[in-house]
């Protein structure tokens, strides 16, 4: 069973991504703020973190930094999910330590494939 932590403040997005991942058999955790997300990640040590960048309180970059800084969960696979959708966001996020990058709006059929590819790549490391 793969455990995925979704850090997302928007209900609709949370419902959508949860729905898609649940159908694939993922065990799900969800947090609505960055702080709560980091806390949950430290506590449950998920296999995958799906991270929204624009969050109330600390933003996605800060969450990523804290996860990477931790000894316990530093190597967790993190996929950023943002509607910035601008050239540079992808590069910035990847260089900040993200394993993958999903653009909003989510393409329901493509998103699972994208997540799986990133996970496979991460396991090969």
């Amino acid at each position: 069973m793969t455990t995925a932590l979704i850090i997302e403040d928007n209900d609709d997005n949370l419902v959508l991504i949860s729905y898609l991942l649940q159908r694939e058999g993922y065990e799900l955790l969800a947090a609505r703020t960055g702080e709560a997300g980091v806390e949950m990640a430290l506590k449950h040590k998920p296999d995958l973190v799906i991270l929204d960048i624009q969050l109330p309180g600390i933003d996605g970059y800060e969450v990523l930094k804290r996860i990477r800084a931790s000894e316990d969960i530093g190597s967790t696979t993190v996929i950023a999910m943002t509607s910035f959708a601008m050239s540079g966001d992808r590069e910035r996020l990847l260089s900040a330590g993200c394993d993958g990058y999903i653009e909003k709006p989510i393409d329901p059929t493509a998103v699972i494939k994208q997540i799986k590819t990133v996970l496979e790549k991460a396991q090969q490391r």
């Binding site: 609709d12 910035f84 329901p108």
Partner: protein, 512 residues
Amino acid sequence: MEFRNLKPKIILSLLVIVVAVLFVSELFHYSETKKSLSIELESLADQKITRMKQEYVFPLWEVDGNWVQQDINTEMMDKRLYAIAVRGEGGILVGAMRNKQWQVVVATEAIAGDFITRESDIVYKDEKIGSIKIYITKRFMRESLTYQVRRALLTTISLSVLMLIFMTIMFNKIIVNPIRSMLDTTTAIADGDYSHHLQIEQKDEVGLLAAGINRMLDNIRLREEERDRAESELTVKKAALEQVNKELYEHRAHLEEEVAERTDELNKANQQLQELDKLKSMFIASMSHELRTPLNSIIGFTGITLEGITGEINETQRDQLQRVYRAAKHLLSLINDVIDISKVEAGRTDVFPSQFTLQEIVDEAVGNIQPMAERKSLFLHLQIPEATVFLFTDRQRLLQCLINLMSNAVKFTENGGITITASETDDAVKITVSDTGIGIKDADLPRLFEAFERLESHMRIKAGGTGLGLYLTNKICTTLLHGSVSVESVPDQGSSFTLQLPKRLEAHDVQA
């Protein structure tokens, strides 16, 4: 001797000459007189002796001593005769002479002194009967001469004095006074006073000189006047210039103040603008998020429903949901384009160059529009160099531009298809997207790259799109990728858009 004045010098010289001339002439006159007096006395002597020697013949012959004595006495009335002595052979001795008081006395003593003498024999019938001797004194000749000398001296002196007076007057009048006044005038000229005018009416050299000085004075005065006029003009102009200068200076000072004020205002305005710009960017960023978040839900949930993931839907539901889905996608691309343009225009777009190949980027773009082209049964031809062409530029942006041009081509083409041609030079690539679509009228070409310029055509409604695609493509290509977009088109035959851009985006081209 040295004279400080001209007059005595000249007058003295003239006087010397006059005196000398007069003296010489008097001397000549004296000697002439002396000579003529001598001749007169000599001729007197000759005359007397000639007469006496004839007249005394008979008295002597008859030995009439008394007659002779009487005649001698008569003769002696001429005081020039000093002595007469007559000697007769018959023993007569008659004579007369003068004493110291010049009285006639009987000749008693021998006669000595400087006299003109004449001696003659008295002859009767070739026989000497006596002799006669007369003595004529030079005394009166000397007196006459002395008198003459005195008179000449007097004449000389009085003439000299007269001449002196005359010459002085003349000199004063003709030379000295004019020269004096000329001297005064020239001294005044030397001292810078040009107000004099010489009143000399002579026609001689002095007059000419004075006239020359007057002419010179006139010229100088004329020049002085001109100079004064020029100077006063200059002064006026200088004053005016100073005034202008002052005004300029004040104006400049004022201007500097104004410039400083304006600069201040501009700085403030600039600051405000920067704040506004920041606000605008923040607004756009939040718009981007706030507008897209609900769209994400719409697109996401419509998407999974359409996919049938959540259960079967009927055809009507599918058709209607598809309309929702397309409208939401359109809205999303519109928002994305507006945000992109805002960012590019604000210079807030980061450029991220990376290395990739021409082939892969064209393939990706083609892959993107392929489904759409297939749905419209359009052909897709690629004419790309076989050799790998490496590019180092912003991949995402180039892809965006290519997809934009290709999807435009598909949108505006109903029959035929799309041809993508690429070529390279040493440092640039050229990618051309040609279609066999509706084309663009020449008149519409200039507006083609402007925002929200969707050309009037029957395709307009059908084609969809934001109307921002070409504008954004052009902006990205020129501003971010340092390339260019050009277009050629024949209405009803097709259009061909060409992207031209450097292979390598140098570090300094990339905006911070």
